[in-house]
Amino acid sequence: MVPRDVGAREIYDICVNQGLGVHGDMKVYLDLTHHSREFLDRRLGGILEIYEKFTGVDPREEPMEIFPAVHYSMGGIWTDYTRTADGFIDHQSPRNQMTSMEGLYAAGEADYQYHGANRLGANSLLSCIYTGLMMGPGVVNYIKNQKESAADLPSSLFEQAQQQWQEKFTGIKQMKGKENPYKLHAELSETMMSNVLIVRDNARLAATVEKIDEYDERWKDVECVDTSDWTNPVPSFVNQLYNMIQLSKVIAKGALLRDEFRGAHYKPEFEINQPSDFKPESFLEYTKLKADGGLKQDSFKPDHLEYMRLYEESNEKWLKSSIATFNGKGPDISYEAVDTSLIQPRPRKYD
């Protein structure tokens, strides 16, 4: 088994670079037929039934035709936590999972915490258990520490907020431009899919950033294609489309500025080739020797030494979360170092 980014990259290479996809299309075979029907039904029943239903082919008898798709966003809303003296997390702290807005919390798949550069299988379960445990007591403590409740605040505060949103949606309903919001959305997703997905290239990313700015302009010329007042999904969609455009800017700009890659999004320009006989544990030895002043030219094989030097350099510069802050027009990107105080990072290796 390899992580999904390695698998995705291999499939991309076969279909795009080598042009060897099944029937010349963007797909490869995933073969499970060497397992018994009973085993497959017991372990993967639900998902195989879905495949069978949508394609009309029995995956227990014939290899499946697959291609990677977007499944999850590894980024998310910035959230905080409080450390204890020994470097662990203070489970009672009201800061745990609090966003940059005081009193607003984000948990589970909405926040940015767990995936770093790669999202491992079943991590959505991890995120909901972890943040639930971390945030629950914190929120209770936050409420206990409040001197006043929402009911004590002047009602004008809420009325203002209500009015602000009502005006926003009234404005959206009055949009009578030429662009169909659903068509514009399809264009945005097509642009993101072809340029910011499995393989990323700086020149194309730069062009994508400009393209998204065009979508931002075109959004102003959207027509709200349904202006009725009852269960009307269109104004919400138009509003969300604006947010999607802003989020696309965050993703594309963050990707462009990162002159390296780790995990999911492959940037061939910045590949550091790992020697095939390299063992990830050597890196721990390397840093220890370096800290003790005992690192010599012949401590490691020359290509290993060079690889570890590049890996270390890349970590110093890029082992950081990109943070986007909205400046009123688009995102400003800054960086926050990843907390590695408990586990020292080391290169990954899959044979």
Binding site: R42, G45, G46, E49, I50, K53, F54, G132, L133, G136, N180, Y182, K183, A186, V225, D226, S228, W230, T231, N232, P233, V234
Partner: protein
């Protein structure tokens, strides 16, 4: 570009208690389409067969892989999910209607709160209190897991109750989905702590006795959940509880 088209006849309704009306849409054929991808195409170009610009059709969907149940509607007279309704396998014109057993919210979107209320009535959950460490849970054997897994695939989509002749807008029948969920949670090592409370609900008005054994539910269930077995099993558990209560044993 081929000249092939897809024709839809959609039963629309502007809001609750509004009159419904049929509207026809003809859209270009694309290979591998399903009903949802076609409804999305209509959103992108909301013009009906008479060439009149109309409001896009309202429907609900979420997962697009037949695990959430939200997009259930009546397609060519049969209740099913619109995401897995492949155009190539449907007779044209394709008729789309909202589920008939629930109040229409708008167009193809219906209010399925009654199903959620039914889950609450049968307490379809594992009772837990607090987040402190309770230690390891009871072991679950593979045979047991096999049965429970199938039951757990229920997505409260509403197909079973849509096809059920006993489930109507003017009664309070729980329906097959909720009865089957009561079975699932009565099987669970911790869930069974309140098994009797579930059985009391099933023995009450709108419970298991309202089932007429038409067996339509199991016929239409998109997840092939053995709903009639669930109803039979809950009937057995209810009978057992009845006699035990009667003789106070």
């Amino acid at each position: 570009m081929s000249n092939k088209t897809i024709t839809f006849k959609i039963l629309r309704q502007d809001g609750p208690n509004q009159p419904s009306y049929w509207e026809t849409f003809v859209i270009p054929y694309l290979p591998n389409s399903n009903v949802i991808s076609c409804l999305m195409d209509i959103q992108k170009n909301p013009i009906n067969a008479e060439g009149k610009k109309v409001r896009p059709v309202v429907w609900e969907c979420n997962c697009l892989e037949e695990v959430c149940g939200t997009c259930t509607m009546v397609i060519n007279g049969k209740t099913r999910q619109s995401c897995s309704a492949l155009i190539d396998k449907l007779m044209q014109p394709i008729t789309l209607q909202p589920l008939s057993k629930f109040p229409v919210v708008r167009d193809l979107a219906v209010d399925r709160s009654r199903m959620f209320e039914a889950l609450k009535r049968v307490k379809a959950w594992v009772p837990m209190d607090g987040y402190h460490d309770l230690g390891p849970g009871d072991k679950i054997l593979p045979d047991h897991q096999g049965v429970a897994y199938k039951l757990s695939e229920c997505m409260t989509c509403g197909c079973c109750v849509e096809a059920c002749p006993q489930y109507s807008r003017d009664n309070n029948f729980l329906g097959a989905a909720a009865i089957s969920q009561a079975r699932l949670f009565n099987m669970h090592p911790t869930g069974k702590l309140i098994a009797n409370e579930r059985l009391d609900t099933l023995m009450d008005d709108g419970g298991i006795a309202a089932c007429g054994n038409a067996q339509n539910c199991v016929e239409v269930c998109p997840k092939s959940i053995p709903l009639t077995e669930s109803i039979a099993e809950m009937g057995r558990q209810s009978s057992k509880r009845f006699w035990k209560t009667l003789f106070q044993i």
